[in-house]
């Protein structure tokens, strides 16, 4: 007889019992496993019988139907959201890519010059948020860095980092009670989409790691946005929900990519070489300082995507719970083309990163020395929290319950083999009872 994992054997027995209704007859086919299988089949049968007992709904489900139709009628009068992840985005012509590259190169020269001269504008821009005069400089700097990053690992890392930036900006704007412009969410979506596109281009060996990283980051971002939504003003609810949905959708698609890399690759394949990956995005039109700007987004009301709790979206690989937990600042970029050109690019990028780090340090010092002129509480918190997210994402990206469950599952797996202690005994799910 073909050797098969015990779980598969149990599944086969369950199917046969469901078909024949005779557990002993089924067990007779597996005499060497009968003693072990029998109690499990008995528990399964008892559970099936218990589950068969479902009372009629007290109000007959009619109230729910009315509520559904009323809600639909309300939503019909509003325009549906148009947000989709990048694989539905239209292609841009190839020429635009070339043109964009030239623009980026020119902007790079300007930015580097500015930084070399004294970096005043770039320093200020680094901590800017939408509506600030220097915010477009910050975005341009990001575009330049992205254009120079090597694909796919470097661009994935950078795209996720920039998505973190957008979340931090949203947090700062909520903290200042300013309206979050739709363009910030749109740009965040571009970052997330770019990370997905780059992951789809990665080698078979590299792709799983990148997808795992996308999952971790988008989960942390979604959770941060969910928490933010709890204290956000009404005017920002739709944008926050939309942003959260983007992160959740990316999280799910990355997870699906782990399960089925080929389909994932095919889905994003048509995006290869897409110009928007490096095209400098249109920054939000700066509005008057301190005021909201940009239209409110079309994101709908309501909850997060499909009501998914963050913790439940964490990929449970059952017995593969050993998470590497790596959260390095950047992946090592692949060096796949012209060596000389890459070295130049890396030098430039390192320069840029050094400048960024310097800017961060200077900002931190400034804030500590002169809190009056420093960023408001929300902005300071945002930077701290983003750093913490980067460093401890594996843990912070999960709600308490999920962490607890992971620990429990790990413990259960260990104890299953070592102590034979009851699994469920250690857990207190669903209310911790």
């Amino acid at each position: 007889m073909k050797v098969q994992p015990y779980e598969q054997l149990l599944e086969r027995c369950l199917q046969e019992v469901a078909r024949t209704g005779d557990a002993e007859a089924v067990l007779a086919h597996y005499p060497q496993h009968a003693d072990r299988l029998r109690p499990l089949l008995q528990v399964a049968l008892a559970t099936s019988q218990m589950y068969a007992d479902v009372p009629a709904p007290p109000r007959g489900l009619a109230a729910g139907r009315r509520r559904l139709l009323e809600t639909a009628a309300q939503q019909r009068v509003q325009a549906p959201a148009t947000r989709t992840l990048s694989h539905n985005t239209e292609r841009k012509p190839k020429m635009q890519l070339l043109f964009a590259t030239k623009i980026v190169s020119a902007v790079l020269a300007v930015v580097v010059s500015l930084s070399a001269v004294g970096g005043g504008a770039a320093v200020a821009a680094n901590g800017s948020i939408p509506g600030d005069v220097l915010y477009p400089v910050k975005l341009t700097s990001e575009d330049v860095r992205m254009a120079l990053a090597s694909a796919p690992a470097g661009q994935v890392a950078l795209a996720l980092q920039f998505a973190d930036q957008r979340v931090a900006e949203i947090r700062a704007m909520v903290g200042r009670e300013r309206q979050v412009p739709e363009t910030v969410v749109t740009r965040m979506e571009q970052h997330v989409s770019q990370a997905m596109n780059q992951a789809a281009r990665a080698s078979d060996e590299e792709m799983p790691g990148l997808l795992e990283r996308i999952m971790q980051r988008t989960q942390a971002q979604a959770q941060a946005l969910e928490q933010l939504r709890a204290r956000a003003q009404e005017q920002n609810q739709a944008q926050l929900e939309n942003a959260e949905g983007i992160c959740q959708q990316a999280h799910e698609e990355a997870r699906a990519g782990l399960d089925d890399p080929q389909t994932f690759r095919a889905r994003y394949q048509h995006r290869e070489g897409m110009p928007e990956d490096i095209t400098p995005s249109q920054p939000p039109t700066p509005g008057p300082q301190g005021n909201g700007e940009g239209p409110s987004g079309p994101g709908g009301p309501g909850q997060n995507e499909t009501g998914l709790p963050q913790g439940e979206q964490q990929r449970d690989r059952d017995r593969e719970q050993d998470c590497d937990g790596e959260q390095g600042q950047e992946c090592d970029p692949q060096r796949d083309q012209d060596q000389d050109r890459q070295q130049d690019q890396e030098q430039d990028r390192d320069q840029q990163q050094d400048q960024d780090r310097q800017q961060d340090q200077e900002q931190d010092r400034d804030q500590q020395q002169d809190p009056q002129q420093g960023q408001p509480e929300g902005q300071q918190q945002e930077q701290q929290q983003t750093q913490e997210q980067n460093q401890e994402q594996t843990q912070q990206g999960q709600p308490e319950g999920q962490q607890q469950e992971q620990q429990q599952t790990q413990e259960q797996n260990r104890e299953q083999t070592q102590q034979g202690q009851p699994e469920g005994q250690q857990s207190s799910p669903q209310g911790g009872r």
Partner: protein, 177 residues
């Protein structure tokens, strides 16, 4: 294009008839699933209503199902259950009356049966949410392993492993008494 596909496309346009038909078809199994998870008919009914409102919101935001619409609904339902228990203050598990259990052999079979089910329900509540989910999907909703995997977001082998762990844990809890 199948009837269901047509129905789903119409539902995405908030077509009232299509939404009504979808509700009529899927609300009963979703209610049954929710009842199996929360063991409270009123709560299961309320959550069923919420599942379909969430469905609308997701449709509006174009966050749609990827494979099975029904699996997608189960997933919404599961997440609502988890959210519900996360927000609820912890409530004690219904304790068994040990005297009654000890004298179970003297009770008539109907009462003994009820006690047995109560004990099983209490034991299931000690499992992890995912373990409870897989039991409800496989043994309550009678989904196949691939169908359950679609709902949970796991491979078939992962579902089988989860199911095995759930049954083994349940057995140990029940044996311990």
């Amino acid at each position: 294009m199948t009837n269901e596909q047509t129905l789903l496309e119409r539902a995405q346009a908030f077509d009232e008839d299509a939404l009504g038909q979808l509700y009529d078809e899927y609300a009963p199994p979703i209610y049954a699933y929710l009842y199996r998870r929360v063991q409270d008919a009123q709560l299961a009914e309320d959550l069923t209503s919420e599942v379909f409102v969430r469905m609308l919101q997701a449709i509006r935001a174009r966050r749609l199902w990827k494979t099975s619409f029904q699996g997608w609904l189960y997933r919404i339902a599961h997440n609502l259950v988890v959210d519900h228990y996360r927000k609820q203050p912890a409530t004690p598990v219904l304790e068994l009356d040990e005297d009654l259990v000890a004298d179970q052999k003297d009770l008539d079979s109907a009462v003994a049966e009820r006690l047995s089910r109560q004990r099983l329900r209490s034991a299931i509540r000690l499992l992890t949410p995912e373990q409870q989910q897989v039991l409800a999907l496989r043994f309550g909703q009678q989904l196949s392993a691939p169908e359950a995997g679609d709902v949970i977001g796991k491979s078939v082998s992962a579902v089988e492993a989860l199911q095995h762990r759930a049954l083994a844990a349940l057995r140990r809890i029940l044996e311990r008494g």
